[in-house]
Amino acid sequence: MSSYVINVATQIIIQAIAACGLNVIVGYAGQISLGHAAFVGIGAYSNAMLTTAAGLSFWQALPISLVIVGIVGFLCGLPSLRVREDFLAITTIGINFIVVAVFQYTPALGGALGIGGIPRVRLFGEVLKGNGFFALCIVCLVIVMVVCWFFTKSWSGLSCFAVREEETAASSMGVSPVRAKLTAFVLGTVMAGLSGVLYAHYMRFINADSFSFTFSVTLLSIAVAGGLGTLWGPVVGAVVLGVLPEIFRPLVDYRMFLYAALLLMMIRFLPGGILGGSSVISHKKFKPKSGETLKEGRRS
């Protein structure tokens, strides 16, 4: 396969992995996350630092990076998931901006110049590049999807679905909403971290700009376009939204406009995504009636 195709395909798979994580948070647990790119970035920077400054190999650094992302995800999730839906959207945007600012302004992390010279991945002495690296990404995607599939079959996953549909009812049936949301959040951010690790070793150079809020929006668009809450949705979304800009590439100047216009059309007429059609789980208009919010009474 031509190296152009492999390049595009690799990037699509890397984005699909991050989108799978976002699908767990938004699709399975119903929590809005508009800062997912931040966790991709944390995974990327973590592995980049460990393999350059600390001299670890890719395989040694990988589990450490995933744990780091998981911990940060947990710490971010803890306060965020207690706030109301709309607050959560904005809080996650804030997390994205703050994390990117940390990347940009911390000299130890390379500051505005980022981190370069990230080594390639070696497997049994062989360097993985091109097709080899692409295969590694596919394996990771498969692992991630298997984890997602297991999650939907577990009580933990079911509790997330219940919280997504009707949080108050779920809690009156023994589900701790905070625990469910937090589990989904940590799982989702760790997947984002894996995506970031692969990204770092693919680009071999990273800086703060790659993980900005714009990327979070792209990831959410991928997850929504493919169909939230479905298993293959993130993959389908990543393929469609990864191929489109390439098709529009000749129309250089109009590219972004067409992309945005298409996204608008898609979300307007197929809010459930390609795999979900227009039958998204219908959501009663978000209006906390006094006397029905969980949080209100507890405050008094």
Binding site: F150, K153, S154, W155, S156, L158, S159, F161, A162, R164, E165, E166, T168, A169, A170, S171, S172, M173, G174, V175, S176, P177, R179, A180, T183, G229, I281, S282, S290, G291, E292, L294, E296, G297, R298, S300
Partner: protein, 255 residues
């Protein structure tokens, strides 16, 4: 083992200056059906919400079999055997009827680390869910998406989910509202059956005939305070109660 399952003592709650419930005390006995009545805004659902853990009372205590439970969150109350339905039905619309019930069956697993990763889609769980659905008369709809059900069936589903918790206490919040006569009769029988099986029931209901017919005892609230307590007969001839529902002067006429 004492006869009293739940003891509510001097329960009060303030919402920003408004005293929604003011110094209410009552007991719920084992195996009894206790009706909680009162005009709109009397504080009935608020009491429910405090017993089931949705609200934390400003003052007062709630005891479940001698153990203090006020302030515990709803999921812990569920684990202690308190099940409830909601006045505005809250089905898990995207899940099937059977899955809705299975969610409640999972109550013991959710807080255990290893339990929560076990699979829920087992034949054992499906059979148990089917049994419960049969009790409420929904086994034909077990594969239907809950979002598609009409109100009558949704109310049955609410009860089914609460039953799946194997509760000691069942809180029913206006479970007859919006139903036709035939549907009401079906649910009345269902509730009597549940009570016979040993579950205590606290029910809020506006339909007087149903409330009087089902309840062993009745508590009437008005403006957040307890107005009367007694058998249906005692309460229905209580002039204060009549006045609360029908207005001043009506009580004097009856007395």
């Amino acid at each position: 083992m004492s006869d009293i399952l739940v003891s509510v003592k001097n329960l009060s709650i303030n919402f920003g200056g408004l005293k929604a419930v003011d110094n209410v005390s009552f007991d719920i006995h084992r195996r009894e059906i206790l009706g909680l009545l009162g005009p709109n805004g009397a504080g009935k659902t608020t009491c429910f919400n405090m017993i089931s853990g949705v609200y934390k009372p400003t003052s007062g205590e709630i005891y479940l079999e001698g153990r203090r439970t006020d302030g515990l969150p709803p999921h812990k109350m569920a684990a202690l055997g308190v099940g409830r339905t909601f006045q505005v039905v809250k089905p898990f619309s995207g899940l099937t009827v059977e899955e809705n019930v299975i969610v409640a069956l999972g109550m013991p697993q959710y807080n255990s680390f290893f339990g929560s990763w076990a699979s829920w889609n087992t034949p054992k769980n499906r059979t148990e869910a089917q049994k419960i659905l049969e009790t409420v008369g929904l086994s034909d709809e077990s594969a239907t998406r809950a979002g598609m059900l009409p109100l009558g069936n949704l109310r049955k589903l609410e009860i089914a989910r609460a039953l799946a918790l194997r509760p000691r206490l069942l809180l029913l919040d206006e479970c007859f509202s919006g139903l036709r006569q035939e549907e009401i009769r079906i649910i009345e029988d269902l509730i009597r059956g549940i009570s016979k099986s040993g579950v205590s029931i606290l029910l809020i209901e506006h339909n007087m005939r149903v409330a009087m017919g089902l309840s062993d005892r009745i508590i009437v609230l008005d403006h957040g305070r307890k107005l009367a307590e007694g058998t249906p007969k005692e309460v229905s001839s209580n002039p204060d109660v009549i006045e609360a529902y029908l207005g001043r002067g009506a009580g004097a006429d009856v007395a």
